[in-house]
């Protein structure tokens, strides 16, 4: 039918002697300074931030309505004053305390729900039904119940916070669990892992990219909700949190302070993203090759 080596005759065969690998080490192309700069994620992020800040500054200068939309510099000054006076740090601390508690409990409840959902069939149905029903409900729907159960104060705020954290985390975690490949599942079962150990040792790390995303979303919505809840609930007893700081200043029309409060939210968001989530990502899903 056909011949094997049509053009082979032209080429000589050769055999090289066995040799240890050349001391290869690291071969690297030289990068131009621009490539070096651009290759640095931090540098690129700072560029993004600078562009956003400049956009803010220039737009606010165009609008010329400091009561509605103060300039970036005014906001920074207000932020600095608030920090220097110790008021802003105090408010931030108050809010972060509640936030951390709500977020922590929310993650725990979400973990319970998804554990229940992956171990029993009724749990799956409960989770998907409850999520479909409750997730779209606005916080005000929960307030009467929260007030009934816990009265005023932090516990009621926590209920509202939980409502923001649980569903996105549970949805992402559960969907991540469902996406774990059959091979990995079987490997886990093969070692005799069952129930919670199976979830913790196999499903959780295997679904970690999804879980992280859920945690990011839950975190952001916890913040949003906390600020909104503090606006509604006001301060009960203690000095009040960042939401209350924003509300008070809004009422006093100290718009620069309002934006300073929001700037605090932004800065905390950036810090948490870059210090917590990014570090976790680098130490887990990136290192494991589960995400690029």
């Amino acid at each position: 039918m056909h011949d094997i080596q049509p053009a082979a005759a032209r080429r000589p065969e050769y055999v090289l002697p066995e040799a240890p690998p050349a001391a290869a080490g690291e071969v690297q192309r030289e990068l131009s300074p621009w490539e070096k700069f651009w290759g640095n994620a931090l540098a690129r992020r700072l560029v993004v931030l600078a562009v956003l800040a400049i956009a803010w500054e220039s737009y606010s200068r165009v609008v010329q309505n400091p009561l509605l939309f103060p300039t970036f510099t005014d906001t920074c000054v207000a932020f600095w004053r608030g920090m220097a006076s110790g008021e802003l740090p105090q408010r931030i601390a108050n809010s972060l305390g509640v936030l951390a508690m709500g977020y922590g409990i929310g993650l725990a409840v979400a973990a319970l729900l998804t554990t229940f959902a992956v171990t029993t069939r009724i749990g799956t149905d409960f989770l998907s039904t409850a999520t479909a029903m409750l997730n779209p409900l606005p916080a005000i729907a929960l307030l009467p119940l929260a007030l009934l159960w816990f009265g005023l104060g932090t516990p009621s705020t926590l209920v509202v916070l939980l409502h923001s954290v649980i569903w996105p985390v549970a949805l992402n975690t559960h969907s991540g669990f469902l996406s774990v490949s059959d091979t990995l599942r079987m490997a886990g079962q093969n070692y005799g892992l069952r129930g919670v150990r199976f979830i913790v040792l196999i499903l959780v790390p295997a679904a970690f990219p999804s879980i992280l995303t859920g945690m990011k979303i839950g975190w952001a919505f916890a913040w949003r909700t906390l600020i909104a809840a503090e606006l509604v609930f006001g301060s009960n007893g203690g000095g009040g949190g960042l939401g209350w700081y924003i509300f008070e200043n809004r009422n006093q029309m100290e718009t620069a302070n309002v934006f300073a409060g929001l700037l605090a939210v932004i800065i905390i968001g950036l810090l948490v993203e870059s210090l917590v989530f990014r570090t976790v990502e680098n130490a887990t899903v990136r290192k494991w090759g589960m995400q690029r």
Partner: protein, 266 residues
């Protein structure tokens, strides 16, 4: 050398009229149909058959990952109801390693997870078996940094390190080059000499089946049914007995008119 095997009255594994099916949405795929065989203690039992005939599925059923829709699978007389560390499985897929663990941790994991041995012992075994599969240099890498064949070798090391009573291996050497493959086969036989485990081994290489197996089950194409159950030979490749058995199996598998010796190049 040891001829004194535990000659138990009942076979270790009894597969009796087992039909295995996959149901996904509208589709129903029958993987094997009324397959029966028995594996005795100390057997190195090979499943041989064409691609898609249900070898992996059978192995999964024995592993306890899948229940038969018909028939029964008994291990030690008791019906198999779930997976467990008494039957270590090497899967066919490359993604069977835990991506979040290094090679070493992957090998140690089943030992620790099944609470078989203490951490120190697990670490020692990991070192030993990683060396056996020739991956000492790569012990601290994560699986995504390994080549296909290296991943399979880690999976083999992981299963062997458990020193299980029963080893289920699904084409473990398929991704390996001739040299590495031969080395692995030798390691398996050496381990068998030491611990006399029972192995259920899937392969698509007739030669490998004869080298590795003591008993060979030949399956027909999709859906898999038993064609024959044969004894292997003791002689090595190249010997007349080996060649005869190889020819016999080839004839059995290769449909008539498609003789094995048909020259590939016209």
């Amino acid at each position: 050398m040891q001829r004194d095997l535990p000659a138990a009255a009942t076979p270790l594994l009894q597969v009796q009229g087992v039909t295995l099916q996959y149901r996904t949405g509208r589709h129903l795929v029958t993987a094997t149909q009324r397959v029966s065989f028995e594996v005795h203690r100390g057997d190195r039992f090979v499943l041989l058959g064409p691609s898609g005939c249900g070898k992996s599925t059978l192995l999964k059923a024995v592993g306890g990952f899948m229940a038969p829709v018909e028939g029964q699978i008994r291990l030690d007389g008791r019906e198999v109801r779930g997976a467990g560390p008494d039957r270590m499985m090497v899967f066919q897929e490359f993604d069977q390693l835990l991506p979040w663990k290094t090679v070493r941790q992957n090998v140690m994991f089943p030992l620790l997870a099944s609470r078989r041995v203490a951490r120190a012992e697990a670490a020692a075994r990991a070192v030993k078996y990683i060396a056996k599969v020739g991956l000492d240099q790569f012990a601290d890498l994560h699986p995504h940094m390994l080549s296909g064949g290296m991943k399979q070798r880690v999976a083999i090391a992981r299963a062997m390190a458990m020193e299980p009573a029963m080893l289920l291996m699904d084409e473990p050497y398929a991704a390996l080059d001739a040299l590495t493959r031969r080395k692995m086969q030798r390691e398996l036989l050496r381990l068998w000499d030491d611990t006399r485990f029972t192995a259920l081994f899937v392969t698509h290489s007739i030669e490998e089946a004869i080298i590795v197996g003591t008993r060979i089950l030949v399956l027909s194409p999709h859906p898999g049914r038993v064609r024959a159950e044969l004894d292997s030979v003791t002689e090595g490749p190249g010997s007349p007995g080996f060649g005869a058995l190889q020819a016999r199996i080839e004839e059995m598998l290769f449909a008539p008119g498609q003789a094995a010796q048909e020259p590939v190049h016209a």
